[in-house]
């Protein structure tokens, strides 16, 4: 399968680098956006098969806003065509902060939430899971 397009929206160059290597080795095309706005633009130009989205970028909730914009349910939304793209959210917000993150249709419309650190095995297995689900869907 491979050759699918993955868009990483994350402002951390090092983390993107650490993820890009195994993803490219597995045959995926990796695109990268350094912030939310750039990410939204690239969703339109790249039309990726999967989005890996960081929570805290320039603002602490940038990732949340990106997901809400992409999954805006109004039919007139400019992202209506991209609503189906699976979103994997990454964050270092540990559960000790009492901030619980779980996908929620209304507040956090994403497909999965992955706590950092993300090693190559965890990353690849999650990516495969989402892409398989997308194909069968």
């Amino acid at each position: 399968m491979a050759n699918e397009k993955i868009l990483i929206i994350d402002n951390d160059d090092d983390l993107v680098y650490a993820m890009r290597l195994p993803l490219e080795a597995a045959g995926y095309q990796v695109f990268r956006a350094a912030n939310g706005n750039e990410g939204l633009q690239m969703v339109k130009t790249v039309n990726p098969d999967l989005i890996i989205l960081d929570v805290m970028m320039d603002s602490t909730t940038e990732g949340f806003q990106v997901s809400l914009t992409l999954r805006n349910p109004t039919p007139a939304s400019e992202y209506a065509a991209y609503r189906h793209i699976p979103i994997m959210m990454l964050s270092a917000i540990h559960s000790t902060t009492a901030l619980r993150f779980a996908p929620d249709q209304d507040y956090l419309p994403i497909d999965s939430f992955v706590e950092k650190p993300v090693g190559p095995e965890k990353l690849l297995s999650q990516v495969r899971k989402h892409l398989e689900k997308k194909q069968t869907a």
Partner: protein
């Protein structure tokens, strides 16, 4: 308090209906005795004493007394017992009694009759039952009766009844004696009425005061109860305002608190005022001498708001329909907090007693307000701490996790194959960064507990059996790898043991203790978990056959960053925070944790929680 004052006056001047009814009933019972007393006294005197009693009229009087008492008793049991009815009944009874009394006196010698003294206890009874005016009226009535009797005998219109062996006729025909006797009777009757009434009046006033005091105390008590049942500032203020308005029986009450800069008074809690009035604006101290005076400690009543220059918003108050206002200061431990105001729709409404009352409520309220303010401050502090913890999470944990991601990518060979030495170096770096991450996570857990970050976290009923089963399942594989027998059992009857906590906290406590036990137990050892119920408590015991804890390490076991020397030797890595976090979590949910150990033989940790058998 005009309304109260008039009702108080009413209470003081007369007995309440219920009490008067009881007195009337008692009065009727006494009269049976009086009638029977007259009959038996006449019979006794006629039989045994050498007196010339007119027996027939006297027996007749005794029978008449009994007869009209029967009528009164009937009227009393039939009549509705409201106050005017009872008063009418009482007046009729007294009138009849006194006429009978006068007849008795006439037939026992007129002004020379010793029975004349019996009039006085009738006057005392009247003073107990009747208003002051009615008592004096009846004293005059008695004087009239006796005066008429004396006058009629003096003039010869009524023949004098001679009772004694010595003649008293001459006395009753002596104008000086007659007028003297009447004068002394009259003055004695009025003095008795006056004294009896005064005494009763004072008793009733005292009673009325006690009743009012009781009512206010009850209101104060109720207010204190409701106010102290919350620590939330807004609720405290609103409840205080409502309780005060209710207790003082006035239209409205407001509480204003000093702004942070101390220049203005901002509305905090209100009862009974319109939104428009509340939103008229803050009280600016610089423009409001009245507020300044109150904040300095004075209780000030404004009798007529429309004509008082001291007010900042007189027109708004008039529009609101408020005519009088009473202000009392709220003084805390460190100075003025603000002021409390009661508003009445009546001009000149507030009395000195109202001022005292508002002042008392205000000083009680100040304590509640100060507590609520402190609680609010604590909440702000907690928010700051939470924010700090959140920042630390991102700023500290994020780079560490990136290092881990980079190292894992490198380690997995995505940057090219590694030589054995390179792989070894990367593995060492990975171990260290993993440890650093654990340390950060532990610190965060501890900081989160200390800052009570989860103070609002909902506590639920956590069944301990399930939690223990879960942790045993999780650690079964590592235990088998290390050849340690990990077992658990429940020393309990069929009823499941549960506590009030959060699932996360219980999991974390068990995880920490079980992973510790496995970590410090050598191969072929044993870790046993026992769940039991003791005296309404739930107890979890985690016993291992590990390296044990030296005696001198025991007191420091739960200290942050402390690791026992033998633990350091056995396991290089360890943050020394695990047990500190565990104890923090245990105490947060009302439990306690203890440890026992014998060096080289093992350690036993016992966690005890208050049990929550029925849920909520």
């Amino acid at each position: 308090m005009n309304q109260n004052a008039s009702s108080q006056a009413h209470r003081v001047s007369a007995l309440p209906a219920r009490e008067l009814a009881a007195s009337v009933a008692w009065f009727i019972r006494l009269r049976w005795l009086a009638g029977a007393g007259v009959l038996s006294a006449v019979w006794f005197i006629d039989l045994f004493l050498p007196l010339h009693l007119p027996v027939i009229p006297l027996y007749a009087i005794g029978l008449i007394i009994l007869a009209y008492n029967l009528v009164f008793r009937y009227a009393f049991t039939r009549a509705p017992r409201d106050l005017p009815d009872l008063h009418r009944l009482t007046h009729w009874q007294i009138a009849c009694d006194w006429i009978a009394m006068s007849a008795l006196i006439y037939f026992s010698g007129g002004l020379t009759s010793p029975a004349i003294l019996y009039f006085f206890f009738h006057i005392i009874i009247a003073s107990i039952l009747l208003t002051a005016r009615a008592t004096f009226f009846f004293a005059a009535f008695a004087t009239g009766l006796i005066g008429a009797l004396g006058a009629l005998e003096l003039g010869g219109a009524l023949p004098h009844v001679e009772v004694f062996r010595a003649s008293t006729l001459a006395l009753t025909r002596d104008p000086l004696y007659v007028s003297g006797a009447i004068f002394f009777f009259a003055s004695a009757a009025f003095v008795a009425a006056y004294l009896g009434n005064g005494l009763n009046q004072r008793l009733r006033e005292r009673q009325a005061q006690t009743i009012q005091l009781n009512e206010r105390l009850q209101t104060l008590y109720d207010a204190a109860q409701t106010i102290n049942s919350t620590l939330e500032l807004q609720q405290v203020l609103t409840r205080l305002a409502r309780a005060t308005a209710d207790a003082m029986n006035v239209r409205a009450c407001s509480i204003r608190l000093l702004s942070d800069d101390g220049a203005r008074l901002i509305v905090g809690g209100v009862h009974g005022l319109s939104d428009a009035y509340i939103q008229k604006g803050d009280l600016v101290l610089a423009q409001n001498p009245l507020a300044r005076q109150v904040l300095a400690g004075e209780v000030i009543a404004i009798a007529d708001i429309a004509h008082d220059a001291r007010l900042q918003y007189p027109a708004e108050a008039v529009a609101e329909g408020i005519c009088a206002m009473l202000s009392a200061p709220l003084i805390g431990k460190h100075g003025a907090l603000g002021l409390m105001r009661a508003y009445s729709v009546e001009r000149d409404h507030f009395t000195a007693s109202d001022a005292n009352f508002l002042s008392t409520i205000a000083s009680q309220g100040s304590i509640a307000i100060e507590n609520a303010l402190a609680y609010q401050q604590l909440g702000k502090l907690d928010q700051m701490k939470s924010k700090f913890v959140l920042t630390v999470t991102h700023e500290l944990r994020s780079p560490v996790s990136v290092v881990q991601s980079l190292l894992r990518t490198l380690h997995a060979g995505y940057a090219g194959a590694l030589s054995d030495t390179q792989r070894d170096l990367v593995e060492r770096a990975l171990r260290r960064s993993d440890f650093l991450q654990t340390l950060i996570d532990d610190l965060l857990a501890l900081a989160a507990g200390k800052s009570e970050l989860r103070v609002n976290e909902a506590r639920v009923r956590v069944p301990l059996g399930d939690a223990v089963a879960r942790v045993v399942e999780r650690f079964q594989t590592p235990a088998q790898e290390k050849q340690i027998a990990l077992e658990w059992h429940c020393d309990c009857d069929d009823a499941p043991i549960a506590i009030l906590a959060t699932q996360d906290a219980v999991d974390r406590i068990l995880n920490n203790l079980v992973s510790n036990a496995l970590k410090y137990t050598r191969a072929r050892g044993r870790v046993a978990i026992t769940l039991r119920r003791t005296d309404g408590n739930a107890q979890i015991e985690i016993a291992d056959t590990g390296i044990g804890i030296p005696d001198d390490a025991m007191p420091h076991l739960f200290e942050e960053f402390y690791r026992a020397p033998n633990a350091k030797q056995s396991e290089k890595e360890g943050t020394g925070l695990g047990l500190a976090i565990t104890r923090d979590l245990v105490t947060r949910f009302g439990g306690r944790i203890t440890a026992q150990s014998k060096l080289h033989e093992g350690a036993t940790f016992v966690v005890t929680f208050p049990e929550n058998p029925k849920g909520f």
